[in-house]
């Protein structure tokens, strides 16, 4: 924006009250900033897990009992939901609010399947003797994956809110950026899961 002359900037402001210096809307820029702070949050949690993953205190470790096949499938489901999220946005951009709602619902359902898988995994771990307080590795594992699960769940809440708003006609093609911004959050949560999945399930413990 430094290249823009003052006059040109003034003109654009007169004619477009929503012009911003960066050209990115305030809400979208705020979401990007928020997500960048989230990187540090998950960075701290992932570091904690990496530090503690072999500290079993003589008890069972998460890496001893996880079912890599099961979690791979549920991870695939979560990643697929990023595709359906894009399809929801694409439909909204085209003005097809019916399809938008369908894809929003599909995205939420895929997210719910992932959360269901996490609940199942936590439950089965618990019965195999890995409670939250068993050892530092268990606490770090549940806290990291639990924080991610809460993020996915809040994403579900957002998706359902969009679904309802679109049904009431409050969310129209004109404000498709709203869907884009929720989508940013959703994709971020998926990308974070790629890191978490790699760190916990794919990098072997020595």
């Amino acid at each position: 924006m430094t290249s823009m002359t003052a006059e040109a900037a003034a003109v654009s402001h007169d004619h477009d009250p929503h012009a911003t210096n960066t050209g990115i809307s305030n809400t979208k820029l705020a979401m990007w900033l928020f997500l960048s702070t989230e990187c540090l949050l998950f960075g701290g949690l992932i570091s904690t897990y990496l530090l503690y993953k072999t500290r079993g205190n003589g008890q069972v470790l998460p890496t001893d009992i996880f079912d890599i096949m099961f979690t791979s499938v549920s991870s695939f489901v979560l990643l697929a939901s990023s595709l359906t999220m894009v399809l929801a946005l694409s439909a909204a951009v085209r003005g097809d609010m019916h399809r938008t709602r369908v894809w929003l619902m599909v995205t939420a359902l895929l997210g719910a399947v992932f959360i269901g898988g996490q609940v199942y995994e936590f439950t089965s771990f618990y019965y195999e003797g890995l409670g939250y307080t068993t050892n530092p590795a268990a606490s770090a594992f549940y806290t990291l994956t639990g924080f991610h699960g809460i993020h996915v769940s809040l994403g579900l809440l957002m998706l359902m809110s969009l679904f309802v708003a679109a049904g009431q006609g409050k969310l129209t093609a004109k404000n498709h950026e709203t869907i884009e911004i929720v989508g940013l959050y959703w994709h971020f949560v998926d990308v974070v899961w790629i890191f978490i999945f790699t760190v916990i399930y794919l990098i072997p413990a020595e």
Binding site: H18, N26, L33, G43, G44, L162, K170, L171
Partner: protein, 675 residues
């Protein structure tokens, strides 16, 4: 306060269009105290931050005086060891999180929009939310004295495993952890909000490198907050999970590593030092040029050294841990990094001196505080460099030498600078001066009191007196300097009370004095181009910026021979503040309601989970109500005087700023309202 008495002419006359969701309407300004509870005006929010911060300054100051009273003489039992631990912990937490940070936030809120030529911040309601959430966290933290069995007793750094239930069985540490989490949400929201404001809402022509140094330093501060707070958030969550749910993060007996806390804490804690100091650096970078009648020397260097501090501040955290057993390579690396960070700081000090060099100096109270800041910070900075030598630090750590160092940095560098800002911008905010004569006495008593309090601590530390001990035995040679320090602290306390007296008296006397006018100091940045106190709508017309120090060049021009010629009087150049029909964002009570829910969740986690349900419903309900309340844009499509930046005020619905509270309906309702 002057601003409250301003009739809210610009918005009060408006009638609001009926909306389909009729139950939720935006409140209307009534000209009473209730306006403050629902205000989304960045100026009012800034004032509230300032008032609340000064209140907690008195609380933290009282705690400091208790500490000094206990230590005035050897072998005293004025405070028990347990209470002493709580007092020095809460003193540190209060001064950092409840005084210096919110006072800096007061300046950021009030001045950033004015300095970049905007009518408000990017998300006015989120701005109100930041304040109320911070206040609710601050009150929550202090209620531990009443319902938590005493304050936290683990030091402001709260090292594990001392912070665990075994060693700290009262609820003080729970209040510490949850209170700081709540206050952290506030700072994070505020950081995102202000970064978006600076990046997106600058007036036409206000390029990044035409922004005042203060705005730059505040921007760097917000970035530090945005990236440091998530790290302490993780640490505090782990701590609270350990204490409430028996997780195993910090229990060495279970194989956990207490160093984890130290790393997480100081990765936040060292940037925090710059979060405290950079706003003050920014303030004196405005005050010194104004009273030297010269532009800031080396503007670009000033900005880049601020940015450099912002980056390097992330690479020095382990210098707080030289004796924690982190290994010789880590110690060497962090030792070097710590020496390097002195360079950009030194650049700044030299640039302030060069700004004053050859200037027409006017030693107003604000200028005295600014010069005092430079001098005192230099002392603190130099003792800081002595810590960067790890072998020396091994001797100094956990002694009063460290206490002396960080008080010279935080009080001498941070708080004195903030007082410079208070004296400098007081006429802009309240429409009258603080009395200069009393101000000078305030300055000198504060400077002398400060040096008497903290100067002797260098000696005590080098003599080997430990930090955090509740008393000391006679015969070690500690008696004299401790007594001097205590006398100094009482003088410091008196100087603060005298400041408050000056505030009260100056307000009373102001009716008989001429108004300061828009630009009483003949200053350089945009906030001085509008009337004092600042009108509700800030700018009648959003200015078009043509150069750095644009406002100065509307008053003066520089001839070919280098002489400065006045081209317009302040009255001619300044805006009149009489625009009508400027659309401003409507007030809202939901930020306040949302903020009230959070401490309830906190009490619930500690005492009774049912309270969590109530708090959760309040917070969650407020979020949806926030999203669904109408935008109230009665002027939409007609009657705008100016389609300027204020319209962005309506974009505040997307509250994606913080925590896990994202709410899409907010965005949806927002767009609907504007449709």
């Amino acid at each position: 306060m002057a601003i409250t008495e301003e009739p809210l002419a610009l918005t009060s006359g408006e009638t609001f269009a009926e909306r389909p969701l009729g139950v939720l309407t935006r409140p209307q300004p009534k000209g009473t105290w209730r306006d403050w509870l629902s205000s989304v005006d960045h100026k009012k929010i800034g004032i509230m931050y300032g008032v609340a911060a000064m209140f907690f300054f008195l609380v933290g100051g009282a705690e400091a005086l208790l500490i000094r009273t206990q230590l005035a003489f050897p072998d005293q039992g004025f405070l028990s060891a347990e209470v002493y631990n709580q007092i020095f912990t809460m003193h540190g937490v209060t001064m950092i999180f409840l005084f210096v940070m919110p006072l800096a936030a007061a300046f950021a809120n009030y001045l950033i929009p004015l300095q970049i030529g905007a009518r408000d911040v990017a998300f006015p309601r989120l701005n109100a939310l930041s304040f109320w959430v911070w206040l609710s966290g601050a009150i929550f933290l202090n209620t531990s004295w009443i319902v938590g069995g005493g304050g936290a007793d683990c030091g402001w750094f709260c090292y594990a495993p001392n912070s665990g239930v075994t060693f700290s069985p009262t609820n003080g540490v729970d209040f510490y952890a949850i209170g700081l989490l709540i206050a952290g949400i506030a700072s994070l929201v505020s950081a995102v909000n202000l970064i978006v404001t600076v990046l997106n809402m600058r007036a036409p022509g206000m390029t990044l490198f035409r922004m005042p140094v203060l705005t730059w330093m505040l921007l760097v501060t917000q970035f530090l907050l945005a990236f440091a707070l998530p790290v302490i958030t993780v640490a505090l969550f782990l701590l609270i999970f350990d204490r409430l749910f028996d997780s195993q993060f910090f229990d060495p007996a279970a194989g956990a590593d207490p160093l984890l806390w130290q790393h997480l804490f100081w990765i936040f804690g060292h940037p925090e030092v710059y979060i405290i100091i950079l706003p003050s650096f920014g303030i004196i970078s405005e005050v010194i040029p104004a009273f030297s009648r010269k532009p800031i020397f080396g503007y670009t260097f000033m900005v880049f050294s601020g940015i450099a501090i912002g980056f390097m501040g992330w690479g020095v955290w382990a210098h707080h841990m030289f004796v924690s057993g982190i290994g010789p390579i880590s110690v060497a690396a962090f030792s070097l990094a710590t020496m390097f960070i002195a360079v950009p700081t030194g650049v700044k000090i030299l640039n302030w001196l060069a700004t004053m060099w050859g200037g027409q100096l006017r030693f107003t109270t604000a200028m005295l505080f600014a010069v005092g800041t430079v001098a005192m910070f230099t002392i603190g900075g130099l003792s800081g460099v002595t810590h960067s030598l790890a072998p020396a630090d091994t001797q100094q750590t956990d002694t009063y030498y460290i206490v002396a160092h960080f008080h010279y940095v935080i009080f001498g560098g941070g708080v004195l600078g903030l007082f410079a800002g208070i004296y400098f911008w007081w006429p802009k905010v309240f429409g009258h001066f603080l009395n200069e004569k009393r101000g000078r006495l305030h300055f000198w008593s504060m400077l002398v009191g400060f040096n008497l309090t903290f100067g002797p601590m260098h000696v005590l530390g080098l003599q080997g007196m430990s930090r955090r001990i509740d008393t000391y035995s006679a015969g070690f040679g500690f008696e004299f300097w401790n007594l001097v320090s205590t006398i100094g602290s009482y003088l410091l306390g008196l100087s603060v009370l005298y400041f408050l007296y000056n505030v009260w008296r100056s307000k009373k006397e102001a009716v008989n004095l001429p108004a300061p006018g828009p630009d009483p100091w003949d200053a350089r940045s945009l906030e001085w181009s509008v009337p004092s106190p600042t009108p509700e709508h800030n700018f009648d017309v959003i200015p078009v910026i043509e150069s750095q120090d644009d406002w100065w060049f509307r008053k003066y021009s520089i001839e070919d021979d280098g002489s400065v010629v006045r081209v317009a009087s302040v009255e001619e150049a300044a805006q009149k503040g009489d625009a009508t029909g400027v659309h401003l964002p409507s007030p809202s009570f939901w930020p306040l309601v949302l903020a009230v829910g959070l401490p309830l969740i906190g009490y619930g986690l500690i005492f009774n989970l049912w309270l969590c349900v109530i708090g959760g419903l309040l917070t969650g309900g407020a979020m949806y109500a926030w999203a669904l309340e109408p935008v109230d844009d009665p002027d939409a499509g007609h009657g705008h005087d100016d389609h300027g930046h204020d319209d962005h005020g309506d974009d505040d619905h997307g509250d994606d700023g913080h925590g896990d509270d994202d709410d899409p309906v907010a965005v949806a309702a927002d767009s609907e309202g504007e449709a």
